[in-house]
């Protein structure tokens, strides 16, 4: 009888893990992807939607078209995982038994933990949010734009920095730059968590006249006064406020009693095993690992999970380990970008922003649908690509 593998979540990590498992194990496994909407969304595109450079249609595809033919897709909402029984309860009734489970359920946005956030700010972390922000920017006639994060951890750490550079360019092109101030609110005393990246970014921010407000940890928004307040007791006035909403793990994780207090799954940093469950693995945004929540992380983790499950199915010792590898592009505006490549042991040494990295990001965005979910980007290129 083939091993029953259930993958929860049809995002980058879940789709790639399912395809790799099916390819590797063939008839030795029956792989089922469970996804509540059955659509695969390319979230890095939200940034471009917000700035009017892309429409929403480019960002979503039917998950079925991205999965190998022999992978089953169940468009269902999973309600609860019974780790001991080895079943997933489905919201519409019934349950799905598994021998191996991959939890790739991602993160969700929560607004209620920061007073005034929903009414007072814009975001580009959902398609609806990005479209709303696009309209707000279209109607913007100058003033103070503040950009920051309303909670940690959050997906794609460079995104707020990319946004300030890109919105600066956007306003310049529309002839509104002279009438606008752009300020990045940072929880630290630098523009970005990673010091080497901050050293590269801050001079460019200065050169473009983008302000930096340090140690500004957002506590509350007062929409009627147009003021955002920090835990440190500062207040900043805005005309347009863009805040990354706080993130949490999915309620399915809470309901199953598997997560920590924020709904993230305690996960082994090397084996990606979830808790002490030998047959359950977690990847991507759903884990509690202290690394970037990003599609790139899930992309690098999926082959490790697939390889370990394949070994277990075959009765051999799993060898693949995740070393913490992440790769992020960072747009710096004016048609240039840099890249952050790092792992658990090696902090990034980002190159000077160049057209080549901007083109690499552009190319990656376009080739994503035909390459990443199918596992067509060779490991070697992933590791050391220089455009």
């Amino acid at each position: 009888m083939p091993a029953r593998v259930v993958v929860l979540g049809g995002g980058v990590g879940g789709t790639l893990a399912a395809n790799l498992l099916s390819k590797e194990l063939g008839r030795d496994a029956h792989v089922t992807v469970v996804d509540p909407i059955g659509m695969h969304v390319y979230q890095p595109g939200f940034l471009y939607v917000a700035l009017g450079q892309a429409n929403g249609r480019w960002l979503a595809r039917d998950e079925r078209t991205l999965l190998r033919r022999d992978v089953e897709l169940a468009v269902e909402r999973a309600e609860r995982i019974d780790a001991t029984e080895g079943t997933v309860q489905l919201a519409r009734g019934g349950s799905l038994p598994f021998d191996y489970l991959v939890i790739a359920t991602g993160a969700r946005l929560v607004y209620d933990t920061v007073p005034g956030l929903r009414e007072g700010s814009y975001e580009f972390y959902s398609l609806e949010g990005a479209q709303r922000l696009r309209e707000a920017l279209r109607g913007f006639r100058g003033g103070r734009i503040l950009v920051g994060i309303a909670g940690i951890p959050y997906k794609c750490p460079p995104a707020p920095v990319e946004f300030v550079f890109m919105v600066e360019e956007y306003l310049r092109k529309r002839g509104l730059r002279d009438r606008s101030q752009i300020t990045l609110l940072s929880p630290l005393n630098r523009a970005f968590t990673i010091e080497s990246a901050s050293k590269l970014i801050q001079p460019i921010m200065e050169e473009r006249g983008i302000g930096l407000s340090t140690f500004f940890n957002v506590e509350a928004v007062d929409p009627s006064a147009g003021v955002v307040e920090s835990l440190e007791g500062e207040k900043a006035e805005y005309d347009l406020l863009v805040l990354v909403p706080p993130h949490r793990g999915q309620s399915l994780i809470d309901a199953s009693g598997l997560g920590d207090s924020s709904g993230w799954l305690p996960t082994d940093r090397a084996t990606l095993q979830a808790g002490d469950h030998e047959r359950i693995f977690a990847l991507g945004d759903a884990t509690d690992l202290p690394i970037s929540k990003s599609g790139s992380t899930a992309h690098f983790e999926a082959p490790v999970v697939a390889s370990r499950i394949a070994s277990l199915v075959r009765g051999t010792a799993p060898k693949a380990n995740y070393g913490g590898r992440v790769m992020c592009f960072l747009e710096t505006g004016k048609g240039r970008a840099t890249a952050l490549r790092f792992d658990y042991e090696h902090p990034p040494t980002p190159p000077q922003p160049s057209r080549a990295w901007h083109l690499a990001k552009w190319l990656f965005n376009r080739l994503y649908w035909e390459t990443v979910p199918q596992g067509r980007i060779p490991e070697r290129i992933n590791e050391r690509s220089e455009p």
Binding site: I152, P153, P187, L188, N189, T193, I194, E195, T214, F215, N217, E219, L231, E232, G233, P290, I291
Partner: protein, 78 residues
């Protein structure tokens, strides 16, 4: 003024900027004069805590390192 520790924050295993953000949140909930102890394992937290205390006016009473755990003792001011 008492130096008894009112709260200990376990920030071990967390990476930047989590230790600072969690500490800022915890300090916000304290009364002026209260002392908080934070334990972190991210080496980058040392310059971050020093700079955060300087910027916010909170007092960094002591900080040290034992077996890879960085300990910060901070008194909330004002």
């Amino acid at each position: 003024m008492s130096t008894a520790i009112a709260v200990t924050l376990d920030l071990k295993g967390l990476s930047c900027p989590m230790p600072i953000v969690k500490t800022a949140k915890a300090v916000k909930g304290l009364a002026p004069g209260d002392v908080i102890e934070a334990l972190a394992t991210d080496p980058g937290s040392v310059p971050d805590f020093v700079a955060w205390c300087r910027a916010t006016g909170n007092q960094l009473l002591e900080h040290d390192e034992h077996d890879g755990v960085y300990r910060f003792v901070i008194r909330k001011t004002g």
